[in-house]
Symmetry: C2
Amino acid sequence: MYQVGFDVGGTNLKVGAVDDNMQIAASRYAAFPKGETYETIAALMAEQVKELAKELSIPVTDFKSIGIATAGSIDAGRTVIIHAHNLGFHNVPMVDEMHRHFPEIPVYLANDADAAALAELHAGAFRGRKTAVLLTLGTGVGGGIILGGKMFMGGMGHGNELGHMIVQHGGPICTCGNRGCIESLCTATWLIQQGRKAIVEHPISLIHEKAEGDMDKVTAKIVIDSAKEGDAIALDIFNTYVDSLSSAITSVIALLDPEVVALGGGVSLAGEFLFEPVRELVKKKSFFKIYHEVVPAQLGNTAGIIGAALLAKNEEL
Amino acid sequence: MYQVGFDVGGTNLKVGAVDDNMQIAASRYAAFPKGETYETIAALMAEQVKELAKELSIPVTDFKSIGIATAGSIDAGRTVIIHAHNLGFHNVPMVDEMHRHFPEIPVYLANDADAAALAELHAGAFRGRKTAVLLTLGTGVGGGIILGGKMFMGGMGHGNELGHMIVQHGGPICTCGNRGCIESLCTATWLIQQGRKAIVEHPISLIHEKAEGDMDKVTAKIVIDSAKEGDAIALDIFNTYVDSLSSAITSVIALLDPEVVALGGGVSLAGEFLFEPVRELVKKKSFFKIYHEVVPAQLGNTAGIIGAALLAKNEEL
C-alpha cells in the first residue's frame, strides 16, 4: 500500500510514493516551476503522480491518499494555501485542484514544517513520543509541533508561527516587519548576513579567506566551518547565534514542557558543535529543574515527502 | 453535591465548597501560616474542610473531592509540591498528607495558574472554548493553558512556566537569574520598580504626588492611575509595559494559535485602558492575519478555589 507525499518548496517540487514502512519506493524531483499558474503546477503534480504509479506498476487509484506539504500558511479547513510567498501562491485551492485530477483519492494539505514533525513522529526523532517540537533552521525558521501524539495544527487550525515568536523584544527587524522574532535571529540567513559583515570589517578572518573575499560566496556553512576551525570572528558570530537559539528553545520549552526538541534544516548540520553548547545553555536558562532533550532531526530532505504521505494517517488518529 | 477547592498562596489560604453550578456555597479565608510545617498546615486545612461540612450540614465524606491549587511547581505525578518559595514548601507530599486526614475522598493537586485557567474554562472567560491561555499579571506572571478543552499540564506533566518564556533575550535580569523572561517585564513588580525610579528621578510626577514621595507607598495601581490621568512619566512607563506585554502575548499566540487569551491578576484591573492598546499591538505584531481575542479573566479572587474544585472533573474528561 502506498501513499503519495508532495513536498512543495520555493526551490524544489518533490514527490514520493511512501510504503507502509515509511520508505520512499519511488520519487520525482523537479525544480519548482515558479511563475506558472497554480492550475498548471497542479497538472504537473498530477502527471508526477501518474509517473509514480507507472514506475510501481499499479493503477493510480491504488494510491490510498495524496498528501501535500507546502511552504507558507494554510487555511483552518486545510484545503487552501493562503500565502506562500516563495511559491507565488495566494489563496490557492490546492486540495480541490488536485481532487479534480484524482476524484477518487483523498487529498490532504499541511504546512511543510508541521508535516516534517509528523514524519519525525512516525519515522524519526519523535518515535514513541507524545509531545515534541521541531525547529527547522534554514532561510527562515519553521516549527512543527506534536501534542498528544498528533500533529498540532494550532488551536484554531491556523498552524503555528513558531518562527515569529518574539525572543528579543526591540531586537532586529524580521522579514515580517516585527522586531526580534526567532526568524530574525536563528536562521542561516542571519549567519550569512553576519558573515558578510565580517568580510567587510575583518579582512583577515577565515570567513574572508573561505569566501574568497566575495560577499556573494558567504554561506552559513562557511561561517560555521570557520568557527569550528577556531576563527575568533566566526566564533563570535556562532556563539551569538547559539545564545539566541537557546533562548528561543527555552521559550518553547517553558510553554510546552515537551519530551524532546529536534533541530533540522541546514544550520543543524553543524552537528555536535552546535548541539553541545545549545543544550548547555538551554539547561542553564530553563526554569524547569529537569533536562529537556535537544536532538538532531533525523529525516533531512525526505521529511516533507514522508510527512505529507502520513497526513492521512494523522487524520485517522 | 460539593467539591472542596483550596487556593494556597503565600498570603492567603482560601478554601470553598463548590456546588454543581460552580458557586461557592461555603468558604473560609485565613492568613497562610508561613513557617509552620506542612503537616501542621495540612491539619489546619483538614480542620477547614470539616468546618465547611458542618456549615453545610453534611458529613465530610459527602465531599466528592478535595482539590488543591498551589503556588509553585508540582511533580509530574501531581501529588507533590516540588518548590513553592512563597509557601516555604519543598518536596511536600501534599496529596498523601491530605489523604491521611480523609482516606475516603480523592485529592487532587495543581498549580494555581493552571487551576485558574480551568475555572475560566468551566465558569468564566473560556466557556465553550477548546484552546485558551490565561496570563495572571501579579507579583509574578502565571500561565494557565487549555488545550483540547482540558487543562494542559505540560507535555511531560511539569506544567508550564509561561512567565519564564524569554521575550527580551539579553534584557533585564529575572528572579530566576535568567534575562528577559516575561516575568522580568510584565509584572506588577516591574511597574512598582519603575514607579519608584520615577519618584527619585522625577519629583514633579503624579506618581510622586500619589505616593507622597515615599518609595514604599508606590503601587502598580498608582502608576496605572497616574498614567490614566495623563502624567507623562507614568504614561512612558505604562506604554513600555504594554509594549512588552503585547510581545509576550504575541509569542504565545504564535505557538498555540489559541481562540482566546485572558489576562488576570492585579494589573488586569486597569481595564480597557490596558486591553485596548494591548489588543492593538498584538494585532500589529502577530504574524497571523486573523484576530486573536484578548479579554479580561472573569473569576478574579475565586478562580483558584473554583479551579481546584474542578480538578476532579478535569481528570474525568
